[in-house]
Symmetry: C2
Subunit: 493 residues, 2 copies
């Protein structure tokens, strides 16, 4: 234990999860570690759920992003989670959100801690942070994610640490903790390349704030990313050919530009597609490092990857952790405020690849709301990246549910990304390069390149009839959601 | 003339506007100075319009923002403008855009020159830039706007300068020209306070690129901002009281935070409202400096203002220019890429105040499209500021056209700013503070605080019925645009 808790004065604070959870009272704001099912604290939240069976206990729960181990489901079903931000991806919590039982504040992932330190949202009473170790001066060494852990710990009144013995001590030195200076003396964030180290290897806090330490031994939940299929491989293929064209046109070198890829099967497949591409010396500046990141490193294609978490499948996790020394010098995990920071994203000139739920004929993208109303996961980092990237790409399959749903619609039922922030759309059908096009030009190209062949005529018919009304962005408002309404009424768009 | 053209080798390039305009051929991309009707070149574009009467002449026209002197109307009616970006505000051009005769690419104002230097949109063949003077080494001293002039001149193959003798030489030293370094060695933009000077007083280009110089003598078009009325004064009053609350809560000091205000009567009235407020030592980091900027300086309230242009009413223009020395040390004009830069906006922690056409019960904002289809002006800088500001405020009157149109609607007919980027909404009815609220909470507050009393019951009825469908953001998609459809059919929402 001496290597896990190196600060003498803290050793006496080791306690049970139940005891630690007593620091959290009904009505508090709790900031927990965890980003894309990596590095979340688990023992204390489970103790909270247990306690809620016998006493009133409702909290505002802040995290980095999604939690693993069904924690969001368990906390929602125990009615512990009254308010939740900034992201989630759990079916159980999703149900509670869409029923109005949990107030979900869907946020750009770079912005939550800004709002906290400005006092614009209620402050964190207790932070619960998973750590690999605590240094001699009380610094917290995170595990597989940084997320918002650093700012939560720094801003919280009290901090509970879950020391996870199953996470290797070799994680020390992986993280780069940097907190921006505050107004009115805020200075530039000095990240100038994906491998810039600008901070400290641990989260610096006053050890006196660490009110309890719980010892755990748990593995991260495995990623549930589907293997590439014919359609996601086709999407990857279109993008690789597009990049080849950009290189040929002199707009990029064969190193492309630092890559960001959203979580999920399609983005993972796209990154996989780069293994058999002519590009090399690639770098990533992203949120989550998935299987494909390590596959690209193993293939000699990727020289460096910066992210805020590592989320792997069970198989890849075993392989990577067994040989972590091989990867460590090629990786940095940062606070999500820095991994997603508009300043850094624009400076580095990223290629941002994110997934759309649906997009419309003018290139507006819905990333979050099924049928315009029901939350799927949240906007996550897609807005941070799409707005500021050198090249903003959105990918999706052209149809879903065996063709019942078209991902290309006359008007999206909810807008997360406006046409201004969308350069390239890709489906298995093809790629639409929208740069420098007016909306009327976008419509023609999107219908031709991205829509499913069975849907093109109907989309073109809508567009042609909308043209009769005129405008920069022609629409028939009384018909704009007719596809969605038909889906609701008949089960098919 | 020696003080206006200080570079000997360039004196022989003085020519007529007609002759200079011959450098522009059919099909070219032309980048012109001009931002919010300030500092536009005029003689050469008029010569182009004249020439188009007798020969085919169509161009892609890029500017900073809007042009004065009806130039956009004249060029559109002469069919010279085939493509136009990134902003306009002319009724004649607007008509051509909405009829599909001119392809208008509506852009975030900070992004146009990024796309140009990346080669993502066709490059500038000829730049036409109004200047107060040319320095001995060929540097261009702009006049009342910088806009995109610096990057246009640097990136163009040839440059035409219009020396405007009516603009005083005392403008020299007002401007701060800074061009970001390029990938992969891009460095931070070193603006850390509104008064940071980081560049050069003139636009540095190879004098050999200056292919023609035209001498003009013209005044900027006067701003057409309406005087504050009862409603805009009420909006200003709500905001001042809100700021007082923020100061009382310790979230700001009495200096507030650097202010950005969009162009137009409401934003101008809001800024005016600060004259009789308890705040002092204010600063601006904005796009356009309007009458209210100088009124605040005269009132001793505003200590510094950074912008990309100065656009004044006829009366204020005469007063300010007669005593320009009094103001010069308190002003900087920057390229719009820097005045609007996401990096700088987030670093400085701005209060951004922009005007909405309409907003919906969940806080999504339409800034551009009347009835979801017809372009008004363009998104301008509102997205650059709203996304990255410390506090993003949108203002509008609660109704328009004598009450026939409600500015608060069930669902906006076009989205420019999503709920994630909107903190505060203000109408003459009141102010809705949306920070930290989930969509269902936002709806209740927006209807109660911002909607016109005659519209509240109908909005609440829509919301209540939408709740029965559930969801994070309840809607009845088949009814979401019923207010807009009723307006189209009956002339009243």
């Amino acid at each position: 234990m001496n290597d896990r808790i190196r600060c003498e004065s803290l050793k006496s604070r080791v306690t049970s999860a139940e005891q630690a959870a007593r620091l959290i009272a009904d009505g508090m704001v709790v900031g927990m570690s965890g980003f894309t099912r990596a590095g979340e604290a688990m023992a204390v939240p489970l103790a909270l759920a247990e306690r809620a069976k016998t006493e009133p206990l409702k909290i505002t729960l802040l995290t980095g992003a999604s939690l693993g181990h069904d924690l969001d489901k368990i906390l929602a079903e125990a009615k512990v989670t009254a308010r939740r931000m900034p992201f989630q991806s759990d079916p159980g919590l999703r149900r509670a959100i869409n029923q109005g039982e949990v107030m979900f504040i869907d946020q750009h992932l770079s912005e939550t801690v800004e709002q906290l330190r400005r006092g614009q949202i209620p402050g964190v009473d207790v932070a619960v942070i998973e750590a690999a170790a605590i240094t001699a001066d009380g610094g917290i060494i995170p595990t597989t994610s940084v997320g918002n852990s650093a700012s939560f710990a720094i801003l919280a009144k009290k901090v509970i640490i879950e020391i996870n013995l199953s996470q290797p001590l070799s994680f020390e030195g992986l993280h780069d903790i940097f907190i921006p200076s505050y107004y009115p003396n805020r200075m530039p964030i000095p990240v100038v390349t994906p491998d810039s180290r600008i901070g400290t290897p641990s989260i610096p806090i006053d050890p006196d704030k660490i009110a309890a330490i719980v010892i755990t031994e748990k593995h991260d939940s495995a990623a549930t990313v589907a293997e590439p299929d014919d359609e996601t491989r086709a999407i990857a293929g279109h993008l690789v050919r597009f990049f080849e064209g950009e290189v040929a046109a002199g707009r990029m070198t064969s190193r492309l530009a630092p890559l960001q890829a959203g979580i999920g099967s399609i983005a993972n497949a796209v990154m996989h597609g780069l293994i058999d591409s002519p590009f090399e010396g690639l770098q990533m500046y992203s949120e989550v490092l998935q299987d494909s990141t390590f596959d690209l490193i193993d293939a000699g294609k990727l020289s460096f990857a910066s992210g805020s978490s590592i989320t792997l499948s069970e198989k890849r996790n075993a392989e990577v952790m067994a040989h972590f020394g091989r990867y460590k010098s090629k990786l940095i995990l940062r606070p999500q405020e820095i991994s997603n920071h508009p300043e850094v994203v624009r400076r580095l000139g990223l290629i941002a690849i994110n997934t759309a739920l649906e997009f419309d004929i003018y290139g507006n993208v819905n990333s979050t709301h099924v049928m315009g109303t029901h939350m799927m996961n949240g906007i996550g980092g897609s807005g941070d990246f799409a707005r500021n990237a050198m090249l903003s790409v959105f990918v999706t399959k052209s149809v879903a549910k065996g063709g019942a749903i078209s991902s290309v619609v006359p008007m999206v039922s909810h807008v997360d990304h406006t046409e201004h922030d969308v350069d390239i759309l890709v489906t298995e059908q093809g790629l639409a390069d929208l740069r420098g096009l007016a909306p009327r030009e976008r419509a023609v190209r999107i219908i031709a390149q991205c829509a499913h062949p069975e849907r093109r005529a109907a989309l073109a018919d809508y567009y042609e009839r909308a043209l009769s009304r005129g405008g920069q962005t022609p629409h028939l408002l009384e018909e704009a959601f007719s596809w969605h309404n038909r889906l609701r009424e008949t089960g098919r768009m």
